[in-house]
């Protein structure tokens, strides 16, 4: 009989939903990228992602499950139009423990005839310990391969100032906690404004998660946030549903207009990351 973890570690048992990240400028919006969100096996306690990953962390099986998720996401992403960018979540612990994740990720992407520069890895971390030199080496290798790096849940838990310096992300994903209800809360607005300014100084771009109203969106635009991921714009859903609603063209049916790629300033991330690598371990 399969153990619970063995069940979860079967990529075919997982399902993948996608939630668009929109670029909103001057009242018009288009899809910048899609975040791949994994759901656990149906008929188990782990269908909900928050429960699935809570369990995985308790089992200290982040690296194994991150690999399984990558395999499931690459399968799903192979059905996307070739220009569509895809965001994938990965634990910092997976990148920081020399688990061979980077090689695994690159191999799987290539096996599915996908291009590495279509991917952004969103680094999540819930544990306070991480091998910084190994994490840094992994990030350097990924960025050299064209993969972009995002720091997820910025402002909460382990997505702190230190992770900003250690990961040198191209994107700050502001947690919904700071964004939801922004319009009626001057203190939240102050926090978001400061994070936008900080992101700019660190050559990063802010993605705001969880706006809950048109007013929230207006306030985000006011502080210069153009990338937004929110259920009020489009919730996470299976690819087929996104295609049916016209958010994502079906490559078999429609010729796809490539989304605009936002250029990044050519900064030397290696020097910065190597400084971070000079640290030994989080304590």
């Amino acid at each position: 009989m399969k153990s619970i973890l063995e069940t979860i570690l079967d990529p075919m048992a997982l399902s993948v939903c996608f939630q668009p990240i929109f670029e909103i400028r001057g009242g018009t919006k288009h899809i910048d990228s899609l975040e791949a969100l994994v759901r656990g096996p149906r008929g188990t306690n782990f269908t909900r992602a928050d429960i699935l990953f809570d369990y995985v962390r308790r089992k200290k099986a982040e690296a194994a499950v991150d690999r399984t998720c990558v395999a499931a996401i690459c399968n799903a992403a192979s059905r996307l139009p070739v220009e569509t960018r895809v965001n994938v979540n990965v634990h910092a612990a997976t990148l920081g423990h020399g688990s061979g994740f980077v090689e695994f990720f690159k191999r799987h992407v290539k096996e599915r005839s996908l291009s590495l520069d279509r991917f952004t890895l969103e680094i999540v971390e819930h544990a306070p310990t991480c091998n910084v030199p190994q994490l840094t080496d992994s990030i350097i290798e990924l960025r050299d391969s064209g993969v972009r790096i995002a720091l997820d849940d910025v402002g909460l838990g382990q997505s702190n100032y230190r992770m900003m310096l250690d990961c040198h992300p191209q994107y700050f994903k502001l947690d919904a906690y700071f964004v939801r209800g922004l319009a009626g809360d001057s203190k939240r607005m102050a926090v978001v404004r400061s994070l936008v300014a900080l992101a700019g100084m660190l050559d990063s771009v802010v993605v705001a998660e969880g706006a809950s109203s048109e007013d929230d969106l207006l306030r985000l635009a006011e502080v210069g946030v153009t990338l937004v991921q929110a259920n009020i714009l489009c919730p996470a859903m299976p690819l087929e549903e996104l295609q049916r609603l016209g958010h994502v063209p079906d490559p078999k049916v429609v010729a796809y207009a490539a989304p605009r790629q936002r250029p990044f300033r050519a900064v030397d991330h290696r020097e910065h990351l190597r400084m971070a690598a000079g640290q030994s371990f989080y304590t």
Partner: protein, 124 residues
């Protein structure tokens, strides 16, 4: 609204029988087969009652960990311990950890049902 019960036992067949019995009795039932699964569910859902085997998989006294975890999360949740062990000192330890009631394994479904009704009734 139906009272929510979490039942923890590493015997999948037994869990199936418990689930069926208590669902038919009007309870909302979740099941877990191991400590970490139980801890995860306890972190996400409020339960009126937890029924746990004392021995879970390779953990001889994993049920004690469950009881401690329940008490960390909530003082309101009741706990019934099922155990094949007859050691009084173990019962004392489980009581000290916060268990409300004990049943010797194997327990008949009807006896377990009566214990559940009693514990939930006492809570109300």
């Amino acid at each position: 609204m139906a009272e929510k019960i979490l039942i923890i036992d590493d015997d999948e067949q037994l869990l199936g029988a418990y689930r069926e019995y208590f669902s038919e009795s009007g309870y909302e039932v979740d099941c877990a087969q191991e400590l970490e699964e139980a801890q995860t569910l306890l972190a996400h859902f409020p339960y009126s009652l937890v029924i746990t085997d004392l021995r879970l998989s390779k953990l001889a006294f994993g049920g004690l960990e469950v009881i401690k975890h329940v008490r960390e999360q909530s003082l309101d949740t009741r706990v019934i311990v099922l155990t094949a062990y007859g050691w009084p000192e173990l019962k004392s330890e489980a009581s000290a950890a916060g268990a409300d009631s004990f049943l010797k394994k194997p327990a008949r479904l009807r006896d377990l049902g009566l214990a559940v009704d009693k514990v939930i009734g006492a809570k109300a």
